[in-house]
Amino acid sequence: MGTGLPSVWIQTRSIFCLKDTACLVCVCAKRKGGCLLQIHMVFILTGMHEVLAPLVYVLHSDVTHLLQVRQRYQDPFEDTFDTPHEDISFSFKEEKCNVTSLSRSALHVPSENALSGDNDWVKRVHSDDLSLVEPDDFGFNLKTVVLGSDSYGAEGELGALLSKRFIEHDAFCMFDSLMRGHRVEVVLADFFSAVNDASTGLSPVLDASAGIYRSLASVDMPLYIHLVGLGVEPQYFTLRWLRVLFGREFDLDSLLLLWDAIFNASNSSKKSVGSIGALKSSARGLFITNFAVSMILYLRPTLLAASNATTCLQKLLNFPKNADVRALIENSNMLRSHLDELSKTAPSLGSKHLWPSVSNSGNSRQISCSPSFRAQIFSSRKGLQQGLSPSAETIWPSIQESYWEERWMNLVLPKEQLEDLGTPEESISCIDSELTNEPARLHPPKEMLLKANSSNLEAENEHLIKEPDLDVTGEMMDHGNSSKGRMATGTCVNNLVNNADRSQDISLNKGDTCSEKTEILSTNPDSRLFVSLERDTVGTETPEHVCIHALDLSAGRGMSNSSHENVCSCSSCKSDSSEDLQQRGPRRYCSDDISLRRIKGVAEGLQPEEAPKMEGDAKALKDEDLRISLQAFGRAMVQSIEVLENALSSLCADDEGTVTLVQSTHSTHKGSLSTEGRSAAIRALTDLRKISNILLQI
C-alpha cells in the first residue's frame, strides 16, 4: 500500500483534472499514513469527490467570509490585551455579558455613541454584512465569527475552527466520517461496495434502494405498482442519488440545504420496529429514504402518465433542477411522521405496509402480493362498491382514497391538530359520545331509518331553499365569533377521523366480520366531519393548512396537470383553505355531481327490484344493500349540501348588505366564484330534490 501513493497521485491528476481536490486527498493520505490509502483508492475509482467537493466549498467559503469580516472590522480581531481602556478580548469571554453590549464593543463603538441610539453603529456595519445583523441580537453572528477565529482560542481549540490552515484537515475528517463513519448506520462507502449482505443477499446500495421502494409502497401503492409493473427498478436511479447524496440532482445551494437536513438527523443506530435495510436503522437513513420517496412523489403525475419504463427513467434520471428542496424536505419529514403513525397505531398492519417483496429476492417484480394488499386496505370500500355493483367500475375512480394524499392527510392532520389544540379530556368525551351514537343509528328498523333520513333530507332541503341566506350567515357568525368553540369542534372531528381510521385498520386485521361497523364509522363521521371541517376552515389559516400547502407545493403541485388527476375525494376537499375554495370549488362540484348521479342511477336501478322485496321480509342481505345505498345517499346529500354552503357563503360575501364579519371572513371569495357558485348551487339543489323524491318513492 505504501508504495501506491505516487502512482495514485499521478492517476488522480490525470483522470479527474481536479487538482485542488486531488491534492487535498493526497495530503490527507500522507499525513494519516498507509491506512487511509484504501479510502483514497476508492475515491479515485468512483467519483466520491462529488461528496467531498461541497464540504471543501463550505469550509472554504466560511474562511473567505471570515477574512472579509476581519478586514472590515480589524479592531476586534486584534490583540488588545495591552490596551487598558478597551478590554475587548476579555469582554467576549464574559459569559453573562449581554449580547448588545458585546456587539457594540465588538464593533468598537465608543460608549457615548451607544447612548444616542442604535442607528449610528448600524451605519458602521458593512452593507454586505447586514444579513449577519439581526435586530434582536445585533452582532451575535459577528461575535461568533470573531470568537471562532481568535488565535488564542477563546474556548480552548475552538478558535481553530475557522482557520485557513485547517481546511484540508477538516474536509478530510468530515469526508472520512461521512464515508466510513465509526459505529454509525449510514456509511456512504457502503453504497460503493459490491459486497452482498449476508442476511439479505443484496449489496448495501441495492438494499437501500429496495427500502426506498418499500417506503413508497406504504405511502403510495398505485405509484409503486405502476413503477414495478413497468419494470422500473429503483437502483437504476437511486444508485446515483444515494452514492453522492443527491449531489447530482440539485444545484449547490439546494444541495447544501438538503445536506443540512441530512446531517441534522442522527446517524446512530436505533432498533426500530420493522427496520429493514441498510437505510432504515438510523434517523439519517430514514430521512434519506423518505427524501428519496418524496422525490419520486414529486414526479408522481409524470410517472403515472408514462406508459413505459423508458419515460419513467428519463424523468427520474433527470430530476428537475429547479425543484423546491425545502418543500421536498418538509415532505419527507411528513412522510416520516406518517410512517411512525402507521407503526404506532397498527403495528401488525405496519408490518404489512413494509413490503416484503423487494427484499426477498432482490427482484422487485413481485406484484403478486399487491391485489391482496390492496384488498386489505380497502376492504370496506370495496364492500361498498360491490353493494353498488352495477357501476362498480365507474365508482372506483371517485373513491380512490388509496391515494397517498388522502391517507397521509388523514394520518398527519389529526396529529398536528391535536398537538396544537390538545384538549384530551374534552375530545375523548366527544369521541365517546359520537361513537356510541353511531352504532345506535343502525339499530332502528330500516323503515324508521329511511323515514328519519328522508325527513331529515326534506327538512334540510326546505331549510336551504327557503332561507338560505339566514341559515348560512348565522352559521358563519357562529363560527366567526367563537373561535374556541370552533377549535373544539375541529379537535373533536379530527379525533373522529382518527378513530374511524383506527377502527378501519383494526377491522382490516380481523377480517370481514367487522367491516360493516367500519363502514359506518368511516362513512358517517366522514360525512359529518366534511361539513364541519369545511366550515371550520373557512377564512382561517391554521397550521394544518400550512402543512397542506406544503404538500400541495411539493408533491401535489402537478396534480392538476396530470392525466391521472384524481377525482377530488372528500377529504382532500375538506381541508381546503379559503383561498383554495375558489379554485377547487368547481372541480369538486364536478366530482360530487358525478358521484351523485351515479348513486342516483344505482338507486333507481335498485328501486323496481329491491323496493317491493324490502316491503316483505327484512333479510340481512337486503338490509345491507339498503344500508349501503342509504349511506351513499347520505354522502351524496352531504356533498350537495356542502356545495350549497360554499356557493351561498360566497354569495353572502358578495352581498354588500350582509354583516361585516361575514365580509371579512369571506372577502377572498369575492369575484369569479359568484356566477359559478350560483349555477353550482342550483344544480346541487335540484340534485337534492331528486334524492328526496327517490327516497320518498321508496
Binding site: 483522470i15 437502483q235 436511479f237 348521479r597 342511477g601
Partner: protein, 206 residues
C-alpha cells in the same frame, strides 16, 4: 388488435473508466463533446431513433460507469440487452486488456440464450489524441482479438472529432436487430380501447 414489431433496442456500453463511453453516446445522440470529465455514477441512458434499412428503431443506449460492478444494477438490467458495446482507449493498454473481462462478465450476467452469437461490438476510442502518436494498441492487434472472439465488428472512433461514431452505432443497431429478428418477438404497441371496453362515461340517464 394493432401489433407491430418491437422497435426498442437496448444497447449497453461497457468498458474501463475514462475510455469515453459517455462521450461516444453523447456524440452519437446529442452531437456534442465536452473535454470535461464527469464520472458516470451507476448508469444513465439516452434514446435515439435510427433508421435501419426500412425500419425505424429506437435505440436505448445505456451508459454504465466504468467502475460499476455488475451486481449493483441488478440482473434484469443486463438480461434485456440486445447488443453490448465494448469500448477501450487505444492509448491505454490496460483498457484493451480488460475487454475480455467485460465480455465474459457480461455473458455471465446477461446469460443470453445463444452466447456464441450474441451481438457485441468493439470500439477503439480516442484515436485523435496526439495525432495517433500516443496509441499503444494497434488496429491489427485489436482486430485479431475481435476475430478470436467470434468476429466481433470493430471500429476505431473519436468521440471528440466525431469519427466513425455514427457508422459504429448504425452497425450496432443493425446487428442488434438482426439478432432480434431471429426471436420473432411481437409485442402490442398500442391498446385498442374502442372495441372491447364498455362505455364508462355514464351509467345513468340524468
Amino acid at each position: 388488435m394493432a401489433t407491430r414489431k418491437r422497435t426498442l433496442l437496448k444497447v449497453i456500453i461497457l468498458g474501463d473508466s475514462g475510455v469515453g463511453k459517455t462521450s461516444l453516446m453523447n456524440q452519437f445522440v446529442n452531437k456534442k463533446f465536452s473535454n470535461q470529465y464527469k464520472a458516470t455514477i451507476g448508469a444513465d441512458f439516452l434514446t435515439k431513433e435510427v433508421q435501419v434499412e426500412d425500419r425505424l428503431v429506437t435505440m436505448q443506449i445505456w451508459d454504465t460507469a466504468g467502475q460499476e460492478r455488475f451486481q449493483s444494477l441488478g440482473v434484469a438490467f443486463y438480461r434485456g440487452a440486445d447488443c453490448c458495446v465494448l469500448v477501450y482507449d487505444v492509448n491505454l493498454l490496460k483498457s484493451f486488456e480488460s475487454l475480455s473481462n467485460w465480455r465474459d462478465e457480461f455473458l455471465v450476467q446477461a446469460s443470453p440464450s445463444d452466447p456464441e452469437n450474441f451481438p457485441f461490438m468493439v470500439l477503439g476510442n480516442k484515436v485523435d489524441i496526439d495525432g495517433g502518436n500516443s496509441r499503444v494498441v494497434s488496429e491489427k492487434r485489436a482486430k485479431t482479438w475481435c476475430a478470436s472472439k467470434g468476429d466481433i465488428p470493430y471500429f476505431e472512433t473519436s468521440a471528440k472529432d466525431d469519427l466513425n461514431v455514427d457508422v459504429a452505432f448504425q452497425c450496432i443497431a443493425k446487428n442488434a436487430l438482426k439478432n432480434e429478428t431471429d426471436e420473432e418477438i411481437y409485442l402490442p404497441d398500442t391498446i385498442d380501447f374502442s372495441s372491447g371496453s364498455t362505455h364508462t362515461s355514464s351509467s345513468c340517464s340524468c
